[in-house]
Each structure stands twice: as C-alpha cells, then as structure tokens.
C-alpha cells in the first residue's frame, strides 16, 4: 500500500516542510533545552534519575495520571460518538448550528467552567437540589473527587473527539450503507458492520488526541479534584516554580513525553491495521 503513492512523495514532502520546520523550532529545540537540564546540575544525572525513580510522589501521581487520562479519553469518545453521528446526518444548515454548539465550550475559560461545575455538582448544587426535592435523600457526593475531575475533563475534551470521528463518518461512501439496506440488513446491523467499523480510524484518532491532552491536564484536577487526584502537570509545576528543582522537573517531563509517545505509537499502529 505505501508504494502505490510513491510518485506523489516528493511533492508531499514540500507540503510537510512548513509543519516540519514549525515543530522543529517550537517543539524539538525547546525539548532539547529541557533535556539538557537532566545532566546540568552539580548532583549529576544519575542521582537525579534515581531520585525521581524512587520517589513515591512521582510513582503515585504517574499512576493517577495514566488512570485518569485513559478513563477521560474513553468516556469522551463514548460521548462524542453519538454527537458526531447526529451531526453527520444533518443537512448543511443543521450541521453548522451543531458544530457551533460543539465548539461553544471551547471559547469559555477553563477556570469559569470549573467554577460552573461547582454550582452544578456541589452538595448545594443544581443536581443535588433537584435530587433532594425529588427523593428527600442526602444527595450524591460529586465534588472534589475523581468523578468531578472526569466530568470536567470530558467537558473540555469532547470537541477534540467529535471532529476526527465526524471526518471519518463523512468520508464514508453512502452507497455501501444503501447496499446493506437493500440486502435486508437491519439498521443496527448496518450501523455495526458498516458505519462503525469504517469510523474506527476517527475513533482511534480521537482517543489518541484526548489521551495526549489529558496527560497534561493541570487546572481541572486542582480545582475539581480531591486530595488523591493530583496529576503529573501539578508535580512538574511544583518542581519548576516552587522548589526550583529543574532537574527533577525535566526528568518527569521527559518521562511523560516518552510515555505519551509510546502510547501514540501503539495507537497509530492499530490505526494503520484498521486500514486508515
């Protein structure tokens, strides 16, 4: 399959050049600076690495970060899929309105949104007030815990998953669906065997995007989470700005980068197998 487009490759390279230069200047070079801090102290690189490797704080927070990110990404994709499916079935005008609605939370500050969740999910919030009026019970504990963090993160991430899924739905040939219908497949069967399978690349792309973004979450866990919901970015912040231990900060940053990179590689590998 890669050979088939071989004659296109030189021109593709020109198109990719701008992005390549951009990412070299704004990503690779700064990453090099960050990496240089690993060995750039009187402590020495090895002592720093051992310090980070044996730190209970780093270990617990790293596990947290992976758990929260995986959950948030999976939840986001599950929520975004029906939205994307609905949008893909709209007429032109409906599509524009729906896309604008999806993008709306994008334009709201994450701090404002976090505070809004306090008003919705809190003990004296909207949901619990309604529940109390209906059942008379003491309500649900939905604030300052993992649940609140996942709600906050999912709310932020949904647009990132809607767009790739929508793209893979829009790229499908409607004739194939029609053919399945003519052959007598039930709507559910058509969806499962044709639409869903063909949208797999979009799902994986959305999943990947959300995972990588989640790894760096910072404000949401700190405002909505409980004491056990600290994430990697909070620890990096502590090392860079409070303790000024840039060596540990850069080791942890690189650790996070390597982890996200490996995860991305695995997902991309699966994506290429599904025939993107």
């Amino acid at each position: 399959m890669p050979r088939r487009n071989a004659h296109l490759q030189p021109s593709l390279l020109i198109f990719a050049a701008a992005a390549l230069v951009l990412s070299t200047v704004f990503f690779v070079v700064p990453m090099g600076f960050i990496a240089s801090y690993v060995g750039n102290t009187e402590k020495g690189a090895l002592a720093g690495l051992i310090g980070v490797a044996t730190s209970r704080l780093v270990r617990v927070v790293f596990t947290n970060t992976v758990e929260i990110s995986v959950c948030a990404a999976a939840l986001t994709v599950a929520l975004a899929y029906p939205v994307a499916l609905h949008i893909s079935r709209q007429k032109a005008r409906g599509k524009i309105i729906c896309l604008a609605l999806v993008l709306m939370p994008f334009w709201t500050s994450i701090l404002v949104k976090s505070y809004a969740f306090l008003i919705i999910l809190g003990d004296h919030g909207l949901v619990n007030t309604i529940l109390h009026a209906l059942t008379g019970g003491s309500g649900l504990n939905m604030m300052f815990n993992r649940f609140a963090v996942l709600v906050g993160m999912t709310n932020f991430l949904v647009p990132y998953a809607v767009f790739p899924i929508l793209a893979s739905l829009a790229a499908q040939n409607p004739q194939v669906q029609r053919a399945a219908e003519i052959m007598g497949a039930s709507p559910l069967r058509t969806f499962w065997s044709i639409t869903f399978i063909q949208s797999m690349p979009g799902i994986l792309a959305g999943l990947l995007m959300c995972l990588v973004i989640s790894m760096g979450f910072f404000v949401t866990p700190s405002l909505l989470g409980g004491r056990k919901d600290m994430m990697m970015a909070n620890v990096i912040d502590m090392y860079t700005r409070e303790i000024l231990d840039w060596q540990s900060a850069s080791i942890i940053s690189l650790l996070l980068l390597i982890f996200s990179g490996t995860l991305s590689a695995i997902i991309l590998k699966i994506q290429s197998r599904t025939g993107a």
Binding site: V60, Y115, L118, K228, M238, R241, I243, L244
Partner: protein
Amino acid sequence: MASKPQHTSAVSRRSVLKALSATAVAGIGSLPWIKRAQAADPLIMVSYGGSYADALKEVIASPFTKASGVPVQILDTPDLAKVKAQITSGNVNWDIFDASGPLIMAGSAAGYWEPIDTAIVDTSKVVGGVGKDRVPNYIFCGGVAWNRQQHPKAQPRNFKELWDVEKFPGSRALRNRVSETLEIALLADGVAPAKLYPLDVERGFKSLDRIKPHVRKWFEQTPQMVTLLQSKEIDWIYAYPNRIRVAQESGIPVDFSFDQTLNLFNYMAVLKGSRKRKQAMEYINFALSPRIQANLADKLGLAPVVKGADKLMNEASRRWLPDVNNPNNVFVDDEYWGKHYADLDRRFKEWILI
C-alpha cells in the same frame, strides 16, 4: 464610523473589513514587545494580578511616577521559574519581585536578589521581616472563616477549635502547601505560639493525620477561599481576611475570626542584574513611607509594616487588622521555610496523596 444605510451590502462589507483591520491593528499594538518599545523604559514590577495590582498601581506606582518621573509597569504573577530563566540567561527584564515568603526565600537561597541598598531604603521604621536582600511591604494573615448563613451561631474561632470535629462537625478546607498548614496543625495540637519554631515536624504531621478525614478540599488558589464558602461546599476554611472583607463588601455572607491568626509578611526584592537597580530601590523606599503604607492598607485590608502607619488608616479598615500583640498569634518564620520548604513540601504532597 459613518455608515450609509442606502448601500447596505457594500457598506456593511466595507465596515466589516474596517472593523476587522482595526481589531488587527489593536491586536498588534497590544503585543508586549511593541508596547515596551513605545514606553519610556519603565521600571518593571512583577506582582499578583487582579484587584491587588490595580491597588498597587493606584496607591504606589502612580504617585511614585508623579514624584520621580519614572514610569512603572506592573506585570502579573511572580513566577520564580521566570526569574531563574532571566538570571541564568543573563537577560534580566524584571526589576522588582513582589511576592509572599516562600517564593522570596527560595529566590534568596538561590541568590537571585540584589542586596537592599540601605543608603536609599530606610528600613529603620519597619516592624520586622527585613533581610539583607528583601524588605516586607505589608502584613497579611490567615485564620478561620465561615459562611454566616450556614453557621449563624457557634463557630470555631481558633485553630484548636478548627481541629475539634466533635464540637464543630462539618467539612474543612486547608491550603495544599506545607507552610502555614503545618503551623496551624501544631497550634491546633496545643504547641505554645511562642515556642512554635523550630517546627516539631513529626508532631505536626500527626496532628494533620487527625484532621485529614475531615478536610474535603486542599485548595491551591487563594480565590477559592471565598468560592468554597459562597457555594456552601465547605463549612470551615483557613482564609485571609482581606479576601473575606472584599467578599463581604460585595454582599457574600462570609465571616472571619481574629481570635487567632497566623501573620505573614509579603516582600519586595530586586532582581540580580536589574538595569534599574537604583530606581527599584527608590520605589521600595517610596512604598515604605507611612502615608503610602496606610493608603495601601486601607485599600486592601492588609496591615502596614512601618510604625505609625496604622494611625493614618481609616477607622473601618483598622477593624480588619491582625492583632500583632495578641499572644495567640504567630508570625510565620520565613527563614525557617527558606531552609526546609523544598523537603517538607515534597513530604506534605506525598502525605496528601496517601
């Protein structure tokens, strides 16, 4: 902009374009490097933003500019990482760093501040907290706060009572950093205020163990002191009265006890290698004059650091001053935290997680 309704479509398109280009020009004009080139090389001070920065500008910076002719630009967020980057790269853009104890002390330990030039800065009337490379600019304090609507009758009024979960049931919120929190844990455990330092770290963490199940939120951001009470998510919180005062003034039913407070200095320091070292020292000296100190305290609900300034304050503001003579109250020892903050904060953050 003159618009002619009779040629609606053409004019509107043109006016939209005009508006767009105006926005673009305004956008470019507000880019920091262009702005800086226009102004006459101001003294740059970094400080906490929002209403605090507005007050600094009104009470200190503008009168200083009027008196000395030196323009002052106030930037947001005293970020020590940026200080480190400026000093290690030799490209120092900031002149004055205005921040709380832990940041100033960490910067001091790293050698990021110029020595205070006592030929310019008169520190003789300052009540305390003066160091070789730092001068306090005000005193703030922390204590117990609550929502009046939720708890109109009995409230914990000191740290021992804040820890008393039988007499005062309900959720607590404390800061998610070790300084201040370890002090109130020890005071709650019965350590005499006069004998607080050096901190008995083990005893402090044991005391924190006791309150841990009752702490619903270990908060990071200072404004959360008000939002957590306002939304009634938290019953009792460790808060700063200047925040409570502003909230009260905007009609939020929150209250604060001055029976026991932890008093803290906020400091000013001059960045090592600042190109405006002399003007920065002059600014610091100006900020320490009693009249300016009283104005700042009136405006922000903070306590002045020079003797005699409190007498110049208005009556309403004086009610919000921490009592520095009350034997229950303690001044946070920033020298102690300068030595121990990194290790203890790491331990504290691990302790919170587990």
